[in-house]
């Protein structure tokens, strides 16, 4: 195979288009290199975009946060801005992979690879982020993150398109968040399930709920029906039981080497309830 090391973004996009799907972009390479070794991918060439500094940024604007696609997971994990305005994303970034991987892996890569267990996805779903994509010869377009994933390792990205940035509104001061990643180890673990929760509360009354779930469906998902159940409701044990039941029905997990679908189903229910209790009643998880 061959490689291209374009100096400019425009050249990178032209190469991507010319490659007709046979040239693959590589940034951190933390998924691509193992895939290459396992012969899961066989590109004709790499387009190395790892050095494009202008796509690595965390920008705080008046109402929004914008994150460049090439921002490393380490930078996200260390960012005060992300901790302040997108805490679940900070927590997920701190638990993704391990420190060595986090120094190379990028948020764009995590989303474009689109593992059903992608760790940055559930927080971005709860934050209702938008993914901005670009390609040669066309205007940028954006898609809501809950429309971005189509299946395991499948996204809305055209084969000549790359992610430019991720945008979301800063979390309101009234909103409370929670995040939990369940794995077989404390580090270097692929999620068995992960949950990101955002609730706007008035005391124990829930005004708005957003639930992002990972590793329990062919792609990272929102639990819309469970969110609906929580909206404009007083949080009680009875409501929690109902939510715990509804979320089981919304997900579509599989059994794999890490866990059975029964275990995943049980744990989503248990952990979602615990996280809601943590937010509503300050009960430790």
């Amino acid at each position: 195979m061959d490689t291209y090391r374009p100096q400019h973004l425009k050249s990178a996009l032209q190469l991507l288009k010319a490659g007709k799907g046979r040239y693959l972009m590589i940034a951190g390479g933390t998924n691509m290199i193992p895939d290459l070794r396992a012969k899961a991918i066989r590109p004709k060439a790499f387009i190395d975009i790892s050095r494009f500094k202008n796509l690595s940024y965390i920008k705080e604007e008046k109402k929004e946060i914008r994150i460049g696609a090439l921002t490393t997971i380490s930078k996200l994990a260390d960012s005060n801005t992300i901790q302040l305005f997108a805490l679940p994303l900070s927590q997920a970034a701190q638990q993704l992979g391990n420190p060595l991987v986090r120094n190379r892996a990028t948020i764009g890569g995590n989303l474009a690879d689109a593992s059903p267990a992608a760790d940055t996805a559930p927080p971005l779903l709860a934050l209702e982020a938008r993914v901005v994509m670009m390609r040669e010869g066309a205007k940028e377009r954006s898609v809501a993150i809950d429309q971005f994933f189509l299946g395991p390792n499948q996204t809305r990205l055209r084969r000549d398109e790359m992610i430019k940035e991720i945008i979301f509104s800063k979390v309101s001061p009234h909103a409370k968040t929670a995040y939990f990643k369940l794995g077989l180890r404390n580090s270097m673990a692929i999620s068995i399930i992960s949950i990101a929760l955002l609730l706007e509360m008035e005391g124990t009354f829930c005004k708005k709920a957003r639930i992002g779930l990972g590793a329990v469906a062919p792609f990272p998902m929102r639990a819309y029906r469970t969110e609906e159940m929580l909206t404009e409701e007083e949080v009680t044990e009875r409501l929690l039981e109902a939510c715990g039941q509804t979320v089981r029905e919304e997900i579509d997990p599989i059994s794999d080497i890490r866990a059975s679908k029964e275990y995943r189903t049980e744990m989503v229910s248990v952990l979602l309830k615990r996280l809601i209790r943590q937010i509503a009643f300050q009960q430790p998880v």
């Binding site: 933390t30 290199i33 790499f46 420190p99 060595l100 270097m188």
Partner: protein
């Protein structure tokens, strides 16, 4: 048969520039070990799951097996060998030896590199911070206790004795 394309890279390793001819898909680990004589960088799993191959790339600990050699072109790499010599060891190397943090030694190079990365950013790490910093390095022999103690001791030495 068409010959695979190769490229020349120039990498700054432990203080000196070195050149190698590499394939596009060749990893930094492979080039360091097979072409540049840096066999102190170990291959444990080759896929980013063990940390044995950790090196500092522009000061940051990374898995050399997950970095393409081409991505290290013109960049600065430091391996465990670059931290000190048997005559003038780095406090980390000294503490690892003295504290029993080395049994088979296979994880040690990568472990010390991760520790160096930590101490460069955080000269007074807590135990929790040390554990987090080495959470990408597996050790099958020691149970990590001595490794953590060695890093604590080295951090102390570096803070109190500016010599190295």
């Amino acid at each position: 048969m068409k010959k695979d394309q190769t490229y020349w890279v120039k990498i700054h390793i432990n203080g000196e520039w070195k050149r190698a001819e590499v394939f596009p898909e060749e990893t930094l680990l492979h080039v360091l070990r097979e072409k540049l004589g840096h066999t102190e960088v170990k291959e444990g799993c080759g896929k980013g799951d063990c940390g044995a191959c950790a090196v500092l790339l522009n000061g940051e600990p990374v898995n050399a097996c997950l970095t393409l050699a081409l991505q290290a072109d013109q960049q600065k790499v430091v391996t465990v060998r670059g931290l000190g010599t048997p005559d003038r060891p780095h406090p980390l190397q000294e503490s690892f030896v003295k504290r029993g943090a080395i049994q088979c030694g296979f994880c040690s190079a990568g472990m010390i590199v991760s520790a160096k990365g930590l101490l460069d950013k955080n000269p007074k790490p807590s135990r929790e911070e040390i554990k987090r910093a080495i959470s990408g390095n597996l050790c099958r022999c020691t149970g990590y206790q001595k490794i953590i103690e060695a890093i604590e001791e080295a951090a102390y030495k570096l803070r109190t004795d500016p010599k190295p």
